[in-house]
Symmetry: C2
Subunit: 81 residues, 2 copies
């Protein structure tokens, strides 16, 4: 089983890197992009012995305690059977 | 409309950062994770005037030409109406 974890800055936190990309795209030949937010993306390969519930709980714990800085970031998870 | 772009190292490229995370998780109290790959994640907010086809084409061009290093990385896109 694989788990996809998406970590982004909270909406209220200024994303300087994303802003820079958005401005650069505007100066180049790319139109139609109003805003960019950059985040991190993790693909976890899980042991096949885990049930879906165990996997969900374990990945949630890892995302919350290790992969995310809860002060400025938030995360979402997608399990892929 | 929003577009989500996921950029990861190609499977054939060693992901040192992901390996480090996987080993660290193993040494800590987190079991059941066999492998970790780290990538980048972008959320693009698009101008509402774009049709879905235009958005798909523009985001594909941006992902290919700007957000991804085609030598070592690959990307996937998800459009959100």
């Amino acid at each position: 089983m694989k788990a996809h974890v998406y970590v982004t800055l909270k909406r209220t936190v200024l994303d300087a890197q994303g802003k820079t990309i958005a401005e650069a795209l505007g100066r180049m030949a790319y139109k139609g992009v109003e805003d960019v937010r950059q985040g991190k993306y993790f693909v976890l390969t899980l042991a096949p012995s885990l049930t879906e519930e165990e996997a969900q709980a374990e990945v949630d714990r890892i995302a919350r305690e290790v992969l995310t800085n809860p002060v400025i970031e938030e995360y979402s998870i997608r399990l892929e059977p």
